[in-house]
């Protein structure tokens, strides 16, 4: 049974070399190459600290690996039957056994020290310059500035990669799947505290360049912080499986200079004032449907599909749906209050009266649902809280 073993050896050596070369390549500075091998470039102190900690750990475990398997490698080459080596007879040695229990333990303590320092730092969210609340929805992010000049600015941020690119009908853009319609904007060199929460399922707000990754747990508030010291655009992705479009809810943060930030805030506030609807405004059917289509595309089409056909049975069709074609009140109610225990969220919390009125009007007039209904914001207002 023990035939020639030399060629197996060649193979084993190759594998070893490949493995070692692979792990060593991590530090070899090839990080700039196309084949990205290491963590993203950090732009906060904390992220840099973690970057270094990771490098240190990787070198460390590589040394352990090489050391341990160097010994084994020697044995595999020298102590073989093929070389005529005869088995020695020993099977216990208390000293070495104690040593190789203690030495790893000491090594681990050495690792634990810097790890503890980094972690304590990472969790210290006190003395923030500003606070932003981040809400995870299936499948988009809501941002609300809670303090500072920008207080009150809030918006929803959704994936902006065109469907056609995802379905391979169009060439993919540079930031394929990592682009959104509205970026989160923060000033450079300011400690930003992020509060995360969610309304439906658990999401996770994560931006690798800041070393932030925090679950957004429905009903609970978690926090994290970062202080970016380099202007630029940084991208991340939802990092907790949250259903169908988990892979399609990226995060984009612009870190800008103080001046640019002030400009941005002013522009936002102006826009918000302009957009603030007169609650008593009366819309025509055309206005409603036009506005409603937009609201529908950003908020509803993910589940109910642009065609209104849904993805039954997970997401019901709205085209021809009994609720949509039934009395307005029921239709409005399900949009405002959602349906607990299903993916259908309470949009009353996310959309204003005019948006809800228009999206419902749109649904009642789109596809084959030609009901010719008009719904006014006032009707939504009356139904809220019921």
């Amino acid at each position: 049974m023990t035939k020639d073993t030399s060629n197996q050896f060649a193979g084993l050596k190759t594998v070893l070399t490949v493995l070692l070369a692979g792990s060593l390549a991590i530090f070899a500075g090839v990080a700039q190459a196309e084949w990205k091998l290491n963590l993203q470039e950090p732009v906060t102190d904390l992220a840099r600290r973690i970057y270094d900690l990771h490098t240190f750990l990787t070198i460390f475990v590589t040394i352990i690996f090489v050391g341990v398997f160097g010994v084994l490698g020697y044995s595999l080459v020298m102590h073989t039957r093929k070389r005529g080596h005869k088995a020695a007879d020993f099977h216990d040695n208390l000293t070495v056994e104690i040593l190789w229990t203690l030495i790893p333990a000491v090594i681990l303590v050495a690792i634990a020290v810097p790890a503890t320092i980094a972690l304590v730092n990472q969790r210290d969210t006190s003395k923030a310059d500003m606070t932003i609340k981040v809400t995870g929805y299936q499948w988009k992010w809501g941002y609300e500035y809670m303090s500072g000049d920008a207080t009150g600015i809030k918006f929803i941020s959704v994936l902006s990669t065109p469907r056609a690119q995802i379905e391979n009908k169009e060439a993919k853009g540079e930031n394929y799947l990592l682009e959104v319609d509205r970026h989160l904007v923060v000033p450079v060199n300011k400690k930003v505290r992020i509060l995360t929460t969610a309304t439906d399922v658990i999401h996770n707000w994560s931006v690798p360049a800041f070393a932030v990754k925090t679950d957004a747990v429905p009903g609970f508030v978690r926090d994290a912080w970062f202080k970016a010291d380099k202007e630029g655009t940084y991208r991340g992705q939802c990092s907790e499986l949250c259903g169908k479009d988990h892979g399609f809810m990226p995060i984009v943060v612009d870190v800008v200079s103080e001046a640019k930030y002030a400009e941005w805030v002013a522009a936002q506030q102006k826009e918000m004032a302009a957009a603030a609807d007169d609650p008593n405004k009366v819309f025509t059917l055309d206005e409603l449907v036009k506005r409603g289509e937009k609201v529908y595309t950003t908020n509803c089409a993910g589940c109910h599909q642009p065609t209104g056909k849904g993805v039954p049975p997970a997401f019901p069709a709205l085209d021809g749906s009994a609720i949509v074609k039934g009395p307005k009140e029921r239709h409005l109610a399900i949009v405002i209050n959602g349906k607990p225990g299903t993916a259908m969220a309470a949009f009353g919390a996310q959309l204003n009266d005019a948006d809800i009125a228009s999206v419902v009007a749109y649904e009642r007039n789109a596809w084959s649902n030609k009901l010719n209904d008009v719904i006014q914001p006032a009707e939504v207002k009356a139904l809220r809280g019921k």
Partner: protein, 288 residues
Amino acid sequence: MSNPSASRYFIPQPSLWPMVGSLALLLMASGAVLTMNSIANGGFVLLAGFAVLFYMLFGWFGSVIDESEGGNYNLQVDQSFRWSMGWFIFSEVMFFAAFFGSLFYIRVLSVPELASSAQQLYSGFAGFVGTWPTAGPAAEAAKTEFHAMHATGIPLLNTILLLSSGATLTWAHWGMLAGKRKQLVLGLFLTIALGLTFIGFQAYEYYEAYNHLNLKMTTGVYGSTFFMLTGFHGFHVTLGATMLIVILIRSMKGHFTAERHFAFEAVAWYWHFVDVVWLGLFVVVYWL
């Protein structure tokens, strides 16, 4: 048929009962899935599953009893049974641990966290007080009232019932050891009666909870943990009582000897285990 000191370890004949049991569980699981999702005829499948399960239990335990009475089980087999029952009860302990652990987590960690000011500032649950018992922020905001179950009254009575049933069971065991078959039968009978009374009271308590206290499964975490823990325990009492009935019938038929009565002891262990769990329940669910 070999004698009780059978020299070889008993290996049972090939048997179809396991297969029947698997079929039963497949039917039960499918039936439950259909029923829970309101799909037609799921109930029948579920019932069929139960029927097959009972058929299997009767058949399987029937053969075990025959083998035992036929003297196939030597002392090593007896010892195996002891190990297995011990480990089985340990697995049950861990099952309960999941629910006790949840109650602990909810009371000590999650409810206070929901009620903490840091959370309330930003979550949708402003004003949540979170004193136990609570049905959670939503019910509190809607001002839905419910009453928690008091430890005095039925629960205390039930504690006394279960503890006495432990005593009567031990008394029955003494009877068996001393060869007093009457004491054995009477003790078992009393134990079963106490157990069934316990179950009756528990049912009454549930009835009260649903009809007069507005305490339901849907009453937030208090309702959830209350019904899960007491319900799972009640299910175990029912199981224990059923096993005691089997033991009672076997005792009346003259099974068991003072030396060899593993089945009796196993059921007794189980009953004491259910007893101890109740004490835990009484303290953390009703009392504290």
